[in-house]
Amino acid sequence: MNPSNKKKDAAMAVEIGGLKLKNPVMTASGTFGYGEEYADYVDLNQLGAIVVKGLSLKPRLGNPPPRIMETAGGMLNAVGLQNVGVDVFIKEKLPFLRQYDVAVIANIYGESTLEYSQVAKKLSQAEGVHALEVNVSCPNVKKGGLSFGSDPKAAAEVTRRVKAETHLPVIVKLTPNVTDIAAIAQSVEEAGADAVSLINTLTGMSIDLKTRTPHLKNITGGLSGPAIKPVALRMVWQVAQKVAIPVIGIGGILTAEDALEFMIAGAKAVQIGTANFINPRATIEIIDGIRHYLQNNKIKNINDIVGTLRT
């Protein structure tokens, strides 16, 4: 690698709870499969990190269809965390990801604090997982998930249990479906979280006028896509002011400009979700766009713009 490339790359590097990333752009859980689904479209080596689909202890069937519905500027989903389970992930999906020089973040989910800690333990012993993202915020499953995420004490307890089982950096993913998201963020920070990521989807619904039935079999689902960006941005800004640990911004990011807004609001890194569905190369275009922004504005290092909002 020539020195000028090296310098360029150093300008994009960020660190999240000890985990060094080439750049601040990751894929959001549940929108990029296990990486292999998009490997034909994207050079995975270029990504900051890949966050895989939420993993539970046992395989999960997920919710009955229909599971998705398009809405204005976004979509509703009620997938219900269908996944192969942590053991199959380690055996069948992780070897594929190990071929790449990219950070792999395992998103985990449990119906109890015990299940969270069991999944965390298994992943910590596996080769090729670089951090855990604890999903305490899924709106589409009956037990666990959201209920942990909407109570500061429960969220802290899950965080402690996961931390006790792992040497890996622990990111706690927060739900926007609460009154005071900053309070939850502070609570998991105190419990030892190395970073927080936000937001997960906002609960919503949509109705078929012809049949007067909900479009989703689950009745409600999680809203994602550009429609939620202003809400996500506001929450990232609020949380960033209250915690010292890194904040990862998620919600409706389609372009480099969107990503930069989140970083100015206080996010040290971002995740790209629904945008992948309409443009599989969205992540790469966003990375390039951020790089250009830095060059054009003579900003030496991406970290220099984090939390620089002028009010």
Binding site: D40, D43, A72, G73
Partner: protein, 271 residues
């Protein structure tokens, strides 16, 4: 990286019957030759309403010297297809594909039966073409049952006539061909087709496929192409699932885009 999002150019987009359109899109040669049953995700670059791409089956494929072309046969049912219908020659569309799996064509059977409902003719027409190209034996073995609500909704018949000699057309109101459901018309003939000598390919509305499943009663080898709402089209979001029996006969949800869209009829679990 083997796959890409292709910028396609609309070469033609004609209303062939009320609400039914035939669009021809030229693509670079790097767009691979599709297999019958495969589809594309199509959207208009930069447009955010509708937000998601739309899945449409590949109806035909031709390869020239400097580019290739696909045809899409579609029905206007909502906002997305309405916008497609408004595109004029020269418009740009974003296409990804060919996506999904295909019908399997390596059966040497005496009878090859197609059952199509409405727009379901699109993937089956490409399949018939592939079989004709494969060997003249297959071409002679084909029988096509094509159903629609009315004569106005029968599309693709002229092209089909060039591929297949035995075509039974049915409409719900008798405005063209037999006044019958397509599945009923097939059922009347079912004695002609012994299960061991017959392969059946189907595509159509859920109700049609479900009634076909009852008629065949698990005795025939039948492949069917299914539809579900899609977001990613590549297997990543797990949004487009259908209920099927897994290897052990237990309920599993499979992705229409990545595990399908073609499934063995016997695998499908009906509510």
């Amino acid at each position: 990286m083997a796959k890409d999002i292709y910028m396609g150019e609309v070469a033609a987009n004609e209303e062939i019957q009320i609400d039914y359109f035939l669009m021809k899109v030229t693509l670079p040669l790097s767009f691979s030759e599709p297999l019958p049953g495969q589809f594309v995700m199509i959207r208009i670059a930069g447009l955010h309403d509708p937000f998601l791409s739309r899945p449409i089956s590949i109806y035909s494929y031709t390869r020239g010297k400097s580019n290739c072309a696909i045809e899409l046969l579609y029905r206007v049912v909502g906002k997305g297809t309405q916008i497609l219908a408004g595109l004029i020659k020269g418009s740009q569309v974003e296409i990804s594909g060919p996506l999904g799996g295909s019908y399997s064509i390596d059966h040497q059977k005496k009878n090859i039966v197609f059952i199509a409902g409405g727009i379901g003719i699109a993937p089956l027409s490409l399949l018939a073409e592939a079989l004709c190209r494969k060997d003249c034996y297959s071409a002679a073995a084909m029988t096509f049952y094509l159903g629609a609500q009315t004569a106005d909704a029968v599309v693709g018949l002229n092209r089909l006539r060039k591929l297949c000699y035995n075509i039974t057309v049915c409409t719900d109101d008798g405005s063209l061909g037999q006044k019958s459901l397509v599945t009923k018309a097939f059922q009347k003939d079912i004695k002609k087709y012994s299960p061991s000598d017959t392969v059946i390919y189907a595509c159509g509305p859920k109700a049609m496929v479900q009634s076909l499943s009852k008629i065949l009663d698990g005795k025939y080898f039948c492949q069917v192409s299914l539809e579900e709402r899609m977001a990613c089209g590549v297997g990543a979001c797990v949004g487009c699932v259908v209920a099927v029996k897994d290897g052990q006969g237990k309920l599993a949800y499979k992705r229409v885009c990545a595990d399908g869209p073609v499934f063995d009829l016997q695998q499908i679990i009906w509510e």
